[in-house]
Amino acid sequence: MTGKSMLDKIWESHVVVPETQQNPAILYIDLHLIHEVTTPQAFSLLREKGIPVRRPDLTLATLDHSIPTRPELVARGYEGMAPAAGKQVRQMVENCEEFGIPLRGPGNADQGIVHVIGPELGASQPGKTIVCGDSHTATHGALGALAFGIGTTEVGHVLATQCLLQRKPRSMGITIDGPLSAGVTAKDVVLFIISKIGVSGGTGHVIEYRGSTITGLSMDERMTICNMSIEAGARAGMDAPDQVTFDYLKGRPMAPAGADWDKAVEQWKALSSDPDARFDREVLIDAAEIPPMITFGTNPGAGIGIRREIPEPVGAASRKALEYMGLKPGRPLYGQPVDIVFIGSCTNSRLGDLQAAAEIMKGRKVKSGVRMLVVPGSNKIKLAAEELGLDRVFTDAGAEWHEAGCSMCLGMNGDIAAPGQYVVSTSNRNFEGRQGPGARTLLASPVTAAASAIAGAVADPRSFLIDGGA
């Protein structure tokens, strides 16, 4: 008999009714994260049928997607929101009140992007099943959880029964070994992976990230990688919990404490895949091969090393993508003038991301004519960054320092780029129109974004490192 993977272990301990040929398994959910965009229709259904929320205590609610983040708009409350967004936010407030769910809304110290606050509060823990009506839920897998995105109908299922009907996904092991080169970050690792396996390379699978590169990363960095698992089509991404995970969680408000803590750590240690566990698919990556990455196309798989030339398009879709992007093959993106730089989103808005970007920005200026937005992922991160003086580093450089939220990751809260503008963005999707109709997104790491803001063009972060880089 072969050993069990972490996926096997977490899955098996949450099966309420086992899977059969005819029926999917009924899987118990330990933590349900909810936000204003993908829940209103689910609450309406519950209301219509007179069904209560089964476990408000296992439901964590916040506002992030459709709220403004520009401080002057945030200060105006509902008046600062577009009418439809304001209506949606009001609806969320009402739904949470009616169904007895505490809401971490604006003004609440815990408010922030749903995938930032779950770990920050210590609610996301190893061994848990975690779902949210949001595809970037895999972020929480970095703590050793099985975390995946669901649709609104399934949000309703979890609200009503704390369970989901699920077939067990296949497993994929991605092993990355070796140290990362100077100027190469977790974002570059995941963009490199997606460029190798493609945007549907992980479809039907849960990815477990393994190897010395992964174990050498901080929690913030691990979350960046797991976050973008969906961009490779994967159902989820996860890392084995280790001392880095335990140190991160200890003392957080919703983490176990006292004797419960010791007991929990013992259980968490047993979650790692057994040495003889088998994966349905395995991918090996040498960390030394990974350069600072940037995308040139209209899906996250279209990534290249920052000094590499844009490849010749293959097929109609990639020709259309280059046309949309206004880019030509045979030249690098390096040096391409940019209009906006966005540092934020559930991928790269944590304190570690802001610190890395600030390191480069310190004492430098955003190039004239370039707009730079820095949007912390949560109120707590905003405060922590301000305590370190990072806000001043950014504002002194000429960047905008915003309130917490999803902001320019997706064009639905007022933070958008104009048609044709180039945005170096630390977010997760470069789809057509993602940051506003006609906007052109270049996905990159926080350090590449910061370097590009200073240069006013796509820049190599290695040129800005104190030691000159590799």
Binding site: P24, G156, L165
Partner: protein
């Protein structure tokens, strides 16, 4: 959910690969709190030019394809976001099935819960369908077969439970709520 047993329609073809959920419905249409009129946002930035006029080149704006109930799309349809607004918008527009070589997991799951059938075909069948826009197809959901005109039918895979729910119009929430006893026992055992 209304039962979906059979679809007989001509096809509309959208050959682009990796059509993502932001193309199916852009994020700015997600501030809605209902499902009313959701198809307004369907393929919005492809269907309409920036001045709000219909783009005559877009397939679903062409009179012969506007009322197609079956959409043939390029490889890997529905990647990206978990927004159920994507299948809602397709269904609201009148699409009952999408044919591709691969679907993103969350899109597929969402579609099946809304009477929208994702049909995976092999490359050969896909190439033929891409090359024959407007082909008349017949889909039998119960038998999981797809046939063109009176030609031979090919079998496609559909998850058996989702198929049962589609054919019978079964509400999955009702099914789950029927398992209350097991759920309560599971919670008790874990305490």
């Amino acid at each position: 959910m209304e039962a979906l047993k059979q679809i007989v329609s001509h096809t509309a073809v959208l050959p682009q690969a990796d059509i993502d959920t932001d193309q199916i419905i852009p994020a700015r249409y997600l501030t809605t709190t209902s499902r009313e009129g959701i198809s307004e946002g369907l393929f919005h930035d492809w269907r309409f030019s920036s001045d709000g006029k219909e783009n005559p080149d877009f397939v679903l704006n062409q009179p012969e394809y506007r009322d197609a109930r079956v959409l043939v799309a390029g490889d890997n349809f529905g990647c990206g976001s978990s927004r159920e607004h994507a299948p809602w918008a397709l269904k609201d527009f009148g699409i009952d099935a999408v044919i591709s070589t691969r679907f993103a997991d969350i899109f597929r799951s969402n579609a099946l819960k809304n009477g929208l059938l994702p049909i995976v075909v092999d490359k050969q069948a896909h190439d033929w369908l891409l090359d024959h826009p407007g082909a008349r197809v017949r889909v039998d959901v119960e038998l999981a077969t797809l046939s063109v005109d009176d030609g031979p039918s090919l079998h496609f895979e559909v998850e058996p439970f989702a198929q049962y729910c589609l054919v019978h119009g079964t509400d999955q929430l009702g099914f789950l709520m029927g398992k209350e006893e097991q759920i309560a026992a599971f919670e008790k055992a874990r305490k």
